[in-house]
Structures are given as structure tokens and as C-alpha cells.
């Protein structure tokens, strides 16, 4: 583990005294490997190590800690600070129906998360959500959202065969107003951040529907590419937050740090399973400990 490796490095430190350039250098190397193995982006690791080095240099090793513990404490604190110190709430302010739109790469978990979010809004926030299946491309995508909606007793807008994604959103909005739904949860098709036509589709929906929240749904096991994905979605849509899925596996989840570092937007929820109740609020300290291994 990282703490064992750091303990070995600092075992050679004679007595106590200050953390200096020399003893920090090896520690930073170990931290670098730990973060890269956890899938934190290479460039994000470089920046992160620099901020740790600055914090650690010249610090008096506290009486109660070994130098290794001191460094781990700094690393952990820096990471928690980076991940967004406190829990970020979902924004439901403004005139109803409040639209929430989920976006992201293919297979990241958007459709399932839409249903999980609708269930959360219904049971925990006592809202009346309306699910909107705006994915007309993937085979049986609308069917998938409809079946999930049925499982949790949340109504799902049913598109007609010729509606395009924008029309689906606008018509669902009209229907929601007429029938007193207070929240729209919009499922969009998975798409590549480099597909201009598909990214434009989202920009147009954003302009016309004005979602209160645009949430990027990202897979916790994503590797170095997480920064490219997050950066592009954020630049095109100015996302409001992130939902990290499939976190209950053994992926270290370094993508969380990369995404946060490059977008500065909060991770709001995590998916913790395939079942429709498997959605939790994001806790920065837990994620930080996991990434550090």
C-alpha cells in the first residue's frame, strides 16, 4: 500500500526535523505511481504532486506523526480539497417543470441513472418527476427507460416514431406543464465528445430547453481519456455536475480526480450498483482514500 511504501522511504530519515527536498523527492515518486495506477490523468498527477511538494516542503514534522504519516496527511487533504470539500446538492430551483439533462459517452450508465435519479427525486425529495427518453438511436433505448419507469412508478413520456430528440424534449416539457410534473429527467443518447453533429444536438437542446442541471455521467473505471471527455463536454455545455457510475467495483476511480481537476464542477452522485435504488451522494473523503489505495 502507499502508506507502507512511504514508511519505507522515511524510515531512513534520521531523527525528526523538517521535510526537505531530498526526502520528499522519493515520496513524490511513490505517490506518482500510486495515482497513475489509480488512473489519475498524467498531467493532473504532475500538477497535484507540485501542490503537495509546495505544501510539504519546509513543514515541521509534527510530534504526533511520522514523516510518512505527515506526507500522507498532506496528500489526503490536498485531494479532498480538490474533489470539492463538501457534498454538492442537486439544483431544483426555479419555475416548474425543472429540466435535468444527463449526458455522456456510450455505455456510461445514463439511462439507468436517469431512472435512479427519478426514484431519488420521488422518494427522497417528494417531487413528481417525468422521465424523457430522448435517445432515438440506440435499439430499444426508449423501451429501456419505459421499463425502468414502470419499475419505480414514474411516468415516462412516449415519443411518436418521427420525433427527433429536440422535439421529444419540447413536447415532453409541454406535457409536463399540462399534467403537473415538477421535474423532467432527460435521457440522451451516448455520444463521442469528438462527434460535432451529436455535440451540437446537445447544445441546441440546451438552448431551447434550458436545463437547470446538465450532468455528465462518467464511468468510474475510465482511464486517461477522462480528461478529454470531461473537458469537451464542459466546454460545449458548461455542465453543472458529474455523476460517477459503477463505483461499487474495484476500480480505484482516479477518473474522479481528473474530471474534477479539469472541469472544476462538483461530483454530485455515485452509482453503486445495477439496481434502481443504487444511487448515493458523493463523499470526497471516501473517494480520496480509495484513489490513494
Amino acid at each position: 500500500s502507499l502508506s507502507e511504501k512511504l514508511n519505507n522511504i522515511f524510515r531512513k530519515l534520521k531523527g525528526r526535523g523538517k521535510l526537505n527536498e531530498e526526502n520528499i523527492k522519493d515520496a513524490l515518486k511513490e505517490i506518482k505511481f500510486a495515482l497513475l495506477e489509480a488512473d489519475v490523468n498524467y498531467k493532473v498527477v504532475k500538477d497535484f504532486l507540485e501542490s503537495v511538494r509546495e505544501k510539504a516542503l519546509g513543514q515541521e514534522v509534527m510530534r504526533s506523526l511520522t514523516p510518512a504519516q505527515q506526507v500522507i496527511k498532506i496528500v489526503h487533504e490536498e485531494m479532498v480539497a480538490l474533489m470539492g470539500g463538501k457534498c454538492s446538492e442537486i439544483n431544483l430551483k426555479g419555475p416548474i417543470p425543472v429540466p435535468i439533462m444527463l449526458v455522456g459517452l456510450q455505455g456510461s450508465g445514463k439511462t439507468t441513472t436517469c431512472a435512479k435519479l427519478a426514484r431519488f427525486l420521488k422518494n427522497k425529495k417528494h417531487r413528481k418527476p417525468y422521465l424523457v427518453p430522448a435517445d432515438i438511436y440506440r435499439p430499444a433505448a426508449i423501451d429501456q427507460l419505459k421499463k425502468l419507469g414502470d419499475q419505480i412508478g414514474v411516468d415516462v413520456y412516449l415519443p411518436t416514431p418521427n420525433e427527433d430528440p429536440l422535439e421529444i424534449c419540447e413536447n415532453a416539457m409541454k406535457k409536463a406543464k399540462m399534467n403537473g410534473y415538477d421535474t423532467l429527467v432527460i435521457d440522451t443518447a451516448g455520444r463521442l465528445h469528438i462527434n460535432e453533429k451529436m455535440m451540437n444536438e446537445l447544445e441546441i437542446i440546451k438552448q431551447r430547453v434550458r436545463p437547470r442541471e446538465i450532468l455528465l455521467v462518467a464511468d468510474a473505471m475510465t482511464g486517461q481519456d477522462a480528461v478529454n471527455i470531461a473537458k469537451t463536454f464542459n466546454e460545449k455545455l458548461d455542465i453543472d455536475g458529474v455523476i460517477l457510475t459503477k463505483t461499487e467495483g474495484d476500480a480505484r476511480g482516479g477518473a474522479a480526480l481528473s474530471i474534477k481537476a479539469v472541469t472544476k464542477k462538483p461530483i454530485k452522485f455515485i452509482g453503486v450498483g445495477e439496481k434502481i435504488d443504487a444511487l448515493e451522494l458523493f463523499h470526497p473523503e471516501r473517494m480520496a482514500s480509495r484513489i490513494l489505495g
Partner: protein, 278 residues
Amino acid sequence: LITGKKIDDEVLERLEEILIMADVGVKATDELIRQLSKMVGKNEIKDSEQLKECLKQEVLKFLKVEAPPFDTSKARPFVIMVVGVNGTGKTTAIGKMAKWFKDQGKQSILAAADTFRAAAIEQLEIWGKRAGVVDVIKSQPGADPSAVAFDAVSTAKARGIDIVIIDTAGRLHTKVNLMEELKKTKRVIGKVMPGAPHEILLVLDATTGQNAIAQTKMFNEALGVTGLILTKLDGTAKGGIVIGICHEFNIPIRFLGVGEKITDLRLFDAEEFAEALF
């Protein structure tokens, strides 16, 4: 990024960055850089052009796997089981493969053995139609996946169908009961037809990081994976994780997924893949 420079620590560090950012991973990158440093030390590499070529050759060594070729005429029906974690592209890959075989004049039956996820059966049926398969064998949502696999292989045997492809539910490799379910499906298939499944393909998403190693390890230990499919290479991810994986587990890459259309399936070409890394 590194052309025109003489080989020094800075160049090797640049190389490390390229490999790590391609998801090659710390361990495999370390091994590759060590090999190259040795060659530089012995003066076998004079400039960065040579360095690039040597790196490509080292990567190719990692990617080349001694494995039997993918030959669906070895048995009839030739049974393929497709597995992997959630959302990697299994169902889509099955549609693409069925079309691939159809174009070769082979008839396929698909087994909708993902009886868990909402509309998984409907999704496979649409792909089956698009690929022109003979039939999609299915049951009810919530039914025993092994029963569906059993029916599909029995049907294929009875009707002299060339190929059976079995779609399974996505599952995290850490979920013991779900991995046991897969083992049971494999056993049941073997009961209907000894020697089957003839191919167990693990589908990996090219955007996945180091967790792909753990995925491969666990699926391999549970089932014996005979081939990999690497999907979503049409994005910006390089899929470098397969370099370490092929090297460590000796499992060949059978196909690449390069898009969402039924024709977006390619046979794996190691040279092309190594070139595209830089």
C-alpha cells in the same frame, strides 16, 4: 513529439508520458522504457526515429500472442459466449459479428441470455434482425440465463446452424454470485455440446483504465477467456491497456469495435494498432 531530438532522459520521459496517456499502465510502460534504455545504453539506438521504431517493435512483441486462430468452421454449431462488465459494448458487438458471419455465408442464432437488464432482449432482437440471423432464442425477463443458452445451443444443433452467439448480462468481475452464474452458463452449454463454448470473448471498452487488467484476470480465472474484443476505438482513447493484458494473459485480440453501426467491426491488426499509439 519526440522526433529530431537526441536520446536523453527528457526524451525518455516524454515517451513515458505518451505511453501512460495511452493507458499502457505503469508496469508495462516501465518494462518498455527499461528495454529501450538498455538499447540506448548499448548504443543500439542513435536517434529518436530509431527509438520510435524500436518502441513499436517492443509493443508488437507484447501484442503478439501464440493462440489458435479464430476459426468458426471447427465445430457446428460453433458456440461463442460474450462476456464483460456493464456497458462495454457486448450486445452491439454480437450484432456486428452476426453480420460479419452472414457476409461469410454462415448462419447464426443469437441467445438473449441477458435476462436481467431492462429491454436487453428487445435490443438484441433488433440487432438480430439487422444482421439477418436465423433466430433470436429468448425467454422471459428474469428467467435463468443458462436455460436460454441451453435452448439456443440445442436449437442450433437440431437445425444445423453454423454459429451460436450468446449474449450475457454485463457484470462487475468483483461480484462473486454473478461470476458463478456465468460459470454455470458455461457448464450448461458444455452439457448440450461437449467442447462448447468454443470461444469465450471478453469485451473491453477502450476508454477503460487499469481496471481492465483486473477484469481480464477475474473473467479468465472464472471461465478461461479465449479472445478479446476492444470496443469504442473510434473515440480518443488509445486502448493501450491491451498491451499489458496480451503480454500477461496471453489472450489474443479477435476484433475491434470502431463505431455504432453494424459494419463497425474490424479484425485486429497489431501493426496498425502499434502505429496508432503515437
